[in-house]
Symmetry: C2
Subunit: 83 residues, 2 copies
Amino acid sequence: MIRKAISPENLGSVLREARKQKGLNQTATGKLVGIDQPTVSKVEQGSGGTQLGTLFRLLAALELEMVIQPRSKTDVKNDGDKW
Amino acid sequence: MIRKAISPENLGSVLREARKQKGLNQTATGKLVGIDQPTVSKVEQGSGGTQLGTLFRLLAALELEMVIQPRSKTDVKNDGDKW
DNA sequence: ACGATCTATAGCTTATGCGCTATAAATTTA
DNA sequence: TAAATTTATAGCGCATAAGCTATAGATCGT
């Protein structure tokens, strides 16, 4: 499971996976936090133009949190799959 | 130096701290990745309107990466930081 | 194949980001 | 405290996000 994101595309993939993991569709997810379905779609496709406010609302809907840390040279996909 | 962010304000604080830790000012940081100083300022102040593309460029300038993970059950106000 | 559900795309409108430049506060340093 | 540096704010022009609605395309189940 990809957790690390260094680009909007990465992030979009992470969000999509998390959403499916929760059994939600784009419409339902967006409704939880006031984002319309087309916007959820664009974020998941990796739109770098997406705004931070939109991202954090999405994270809230999916019960996710963001961690900022120094870039690791060695890749980080440790941690037994928790989701 | 691992910091969680659940809002644009959180994130802005994290970025500002990381920048200072690297001994950079807003102008120098922005120049590394083609962002102007006023924009860096707004991001650090927590503008939810900041775009993801801008954020990722800033992360690159500061040699940071983003990790998305399930929200910790233990409250986010638990590691000594004030937000 | 069919219908139902889900996702992607499009047009319109309003709002706002960002680069650029200039300048005003605020902070640091001597 | 004055000067230098750094950060915040503002206006302009251009580009684009996001909400809304509609619909086309894709996917799933029967």
